[in-house]
Point group: D2
Chain length 96, copies 4
């Protein structure tokens, strides 16, 4: 398949990542300004959750397009391979 | 579909859950014996990771059977519904 | 120190762990009864969050008693050691 | 206390955050270049873990300086307050 699963959501994914970049630059300003530890930590939690939301959107698109495409192709070996690959990606996210 | 996705792995899933139950009972004994906080915490982390592994196995089976089945049925509405449902389950796991 | 940090909360910690054990046994019944994957996953998330709450309570007690005690002892080496140990326990929890 | 707990580690914390910013910009390039979903997800996991490491370092510094300082001040009310505040920050990190 030529296009990644998030192809139709590309602008939205980029906008979310741009926002995460803004949060991480904001964190640098906070640290530079000697902001109180707990306030910095609250923003680290917010940036982490924002990154997790990007991951969930990418996974949703991947299920909806790439995995659906592989299953519909009726190639059981490829279908199996792509599901194993998705499970490993989910595992990395769940355990991080 | 009559059977859940983990049907063929049922014994393995039950064995893993039995092990988690053993870990949680072990935690009760540790607390009852006044075990040092950090050693209890190490075991809480281990039990948490074991539960996450059960979740990853259930998700893998769900992709491999229930979602594959829905996609192959060529019912786009049902396919959509079941993928949205899976994404929400993944989100709960990633964010917990 | 003879007693662990959770000494005064022991009954509450044991009650929480007993509840987690009940959740894990409930999960076994669900799997045994062929409950739909997503419903099982929802309960796995709930049990995981319950275990994380036990960890947070144990950490709070550890800060409030063991770490406070070490800091008040004015033994800088022991104080350092116990803080490094706590940070590692927090890291295992944050990354699991 | 005038300085935050990470005062002596400020350069190291800023360098880590700069690296996370680089990872998030790298993610934008990957999405812009239509990189395969799973490869993007692997990098999202890496950036998430890097943010969690920043959090763990900030917490370690907070225990080592701010909490130690509060406990040594022998002001039990302030000591209590700052430990409750730290526990809540840890909880946000553990549950995200």
């Amino acid at each position: 398949m030529a296009n990644p699963g998030y192809h139709d959501d590309k602008a939205a994914v980029l906008a979310r990542l741009k926002r995460v970049e803004g949060q991480v630059r904001g964190l640098q300003r906070m640290v530079d300004d000697d902001t109180y530890c707990i306030d910095v930590l609250t923003q680290v939690s917010a940036a982490t959750r924002a990154l997790q939301s990007v991951a969930v959107q990418l996974l949703d698109d991947h299920l909806r397009h790439c995995i659906t495409h592989a299953v519909q192709s009726d190639d059981a070996v490829e279908s199996d391979r792509i599901i194993t690959e998705a499970t490993r990606a989910i595992e990395r996210l769940v355990k991080s």
